[in-house]
């Protein structure tokens, strides 16, 4: 079994409303019972209601797997990077510290790294991952390109990320404005914001306001 080629995971962090449904749903997934693999980050609790969900992006050349000294992380043929194999992981945290998206979690009690494996038990059968079935704002969406295009005419998806001089392609796609003249998401942009000091220009804050639900029509 493998994840059908027509189905993709689309991530749109700034649609997140912080309801924590994904966190709950993730912890109910059978492959890591009781442990949520989703990081739901509060961006700046004092200034903004913005929250963002972070899941594994399933990189084409996963840094987590390459820096693993124990060969504990494997990528399936259909591009899903699996959580650490229990007999192998030696809990060194290399993967936790090396993942450019900050995804793997170290479970110190089990001495085991755990991370999202895109609900492989479900997605390999064509079902949606747990988080995407419950996300009311569709910040986490699993479906075809046609579906997402119909739902978000203003958006398109990108799966190329730039970290310094390193380009990373991922299986998971991130939604960006259709008019945005970018070919990749460059993290350096976050640090070289010329107006970074001005609170109104705080990208998280302005986006949070920008994204408040619009209920006209």
């Amino acid at each position: 079994m493998s994840v059908p080629e027509s189905l993709f995971f689309f991530l749109d962090p700034n649609r997140c409303i912080g309801c924590e449904s994904c966190v709950q749903a993730c912890s109910e997934c059978d492959t890591h019972k009781g442990h949520s693999m989703i990081h739901l980050e509060r961006v700046n609790r004092y200034e903004s209601p913005q929250t963002i969900p972070v899941v594994c992006m399933h990189c084409d050349s996963p840094t987590c797997a390459e820096v693993c000294p124990a060969d504990a992380i494997k990528r399936t043929e259909d591009g899903v990077v699996q959580t650490a194999r229990k007999p192998r992981c030696i809990a060194c945290s290399n993967c936790v510290l090396a993942c450019p998206f900050g995804v793997p979690k170290m479970n110190t009690d089990y001495e085991l790294m755990m991370k999202c494996d895109m609900c492989y038990d479900r997605t390999s059968e064509g079902k949606r991952p747990m988080c995407a079935t419950v996300c009311p704002s569709q910040a986490l969406f699993f479906g075809t390109h046609a579906e997402i295009q119909a739902l978000r005419p203003r958006s398109r998806s990108l799966n190329t990320f730039q970290f310094g001089r390193q380009t990373i392609h991922t299986k998971v796609q991130m939604m960006v404005p259709r008019e945005a003249p970018v070919m990749h998401i460059d993290v350096a942009a976050a640090w070289h914001d010329p107006q970074g000091e001005d609170e109104q220009d705080d990208p998280m804050l302005s986006a949070a306001l920008f994204e408040l639900p619009v209920l006209s029509n």
Partner: protein, 354 residues
């Protein structure tokens, strides 16, 4: 390099067999198949182990692990810690029990069964240990190790019973452990989603086959007047040799990889005592500086280029995982913020398929 190490280890093994069996004086020719399988496994395991050690992240941990362990100022403390950790992690499997009772029980039973069986069979097969009658009364045996008499026991004594049935006890442990593991693999949804036949079932099947055919040999000569003994002996040999040959390639290789965990613990100890890395974004401590510097080096060796040629931050590794999560989202949000606000707001309905 790896082949040379493999050959050298195998040669050492041959020498150890020659010396330990007093130039094959106590070597049982019937067991030669097992010996060759063991030699092949020795070559395969040391070959693969060497290749594994050469991977940049493994090589770094290997080198650093020994460095921090042997540091003169902490060697004493490390030795004490080592003994404690050996007991808790390896002999008691503490972390596996914390993952679940059935996991712990299965692993612990299989592991001790295999340790017991190996401790008995390998020295016997190599001729390192054999038993001789102590005197002409033929009432007691003396265990002879490497040619030196070690201890004696009565043939019908309790120690004698325990010793001669050592492999029976070992197979009971292994079979019980395999049963628990098999059950978990069949009913546990987590296992069912991620397991692979070769990685997860094959080792259990092999261990089970070795144990059951071994037990049947005992049943045959004890209670069935040696019925089908030859057939059983060959079947048993095939399962054991198959397992030995497969060892370097499959899941059982974790027996040799897993001890690296101890080195990692000392690395972490040293990291905690040393200087900490502070995130360039939030200024929080998030790992030991040694670990971050080592990881930057490992990533460079692997060909990753997470460095920033200009700006105040030299490497993405200097950002803590939480700030990385926020950064990626921040850039996406910036893109939205800088995009023109459309005339028609986007309305989306939840998808209908499940």
């Amino acid at each position: 390099m790896a082949a040379a190490v493999g050959l050298a280890t195998t040669a050492l093994m041959v020498v150890a067999i020659l010396i330990g069996s007093r130039r094959l004086a106590h070597f049982d020719a019937a067991l030669v198949g097992y010996t060759f399988a063991t030699l092949f496994a020795t070559f395969g395991i040391s070959y693969r182990f060497t290749i594994w050690l050469q991977r940049p992240p493994t090589a770094m941990y290997w080198k650093r692990g020994w460095q921090v362990f042997l540091r003169p100022d902490s060697l004493g403390r490390n030795l004490v810690q080592w003994l404690k950790r050996l007991g808790a992690i390896f002999f008691a499997n503490s972390f596996i029990w914390r993952r679940g009772i059935s996991r712990g029980a299965a692993h612990w039973l299989v592991m001790w069964g295999c340790i017991l069986a190996s401790a008995i069979t390998f020295p016997l097969v190599f001729g390192w240990i054999h038993f001789e009658f102590t005197d002409a009364t033929f009432q007691s045996y003396t265990a002879v190790m490497f040619g030196f008499p070690v201890f004696s026991f009565g043939i019908h004594s309790i120690p004698g019973y325990l010793i001669f049935h050592g492999l029976v006890w070992a197979s009971f442990l292994v079979i019980a452990g395999v049963m628990i593991a098999m059950r978990r693999r069949m009913v546990g949804h987590d296992a069912r989603a991620l397991q692979r036949f070769g990685e997860d079932f094959l080792p259990l099947i092999l261990l089970y086959a070795v144990s059951v055919t071994g037990l049947m040999l005992v049943v045959s000569y004890k209670w069935m007047n040696g019925y089908a003994y030859d057939f059983l002996a060959i079947t048993h040999a095939v399962t054991v040799i198959g397992t030995l040959l497969w060892m370097p390639f499959g899941k059982l290789f974790h027996i040799f990889q897993r001890p690296a965990q101890l080195g990692v613990l000392f690395y972490k100890d040293a990291g905690r005592r040393g200087e900490q890395a502070r995130c360039v974004v939030c200024s929080q401590e998030y790992a030991s500086l040694m670990h971050i510097e080592d990881l930057i080096e490992v990533e460079r060796q692997l060909g990753y280029r997470y460095d920033f040629p200009e700006g105040s931050v030299d490497h993405y590794q200097r950002v803590c995982p939480r700030c990385r999560r926020l950064t990626v989202a921040a850039v996406q949000t910036q893109l939205w913020a800088s995009a023109a606000v459309p005339a028609q707001p986007e309305i989306s309905a939840p998808p209908s398929h499940s």
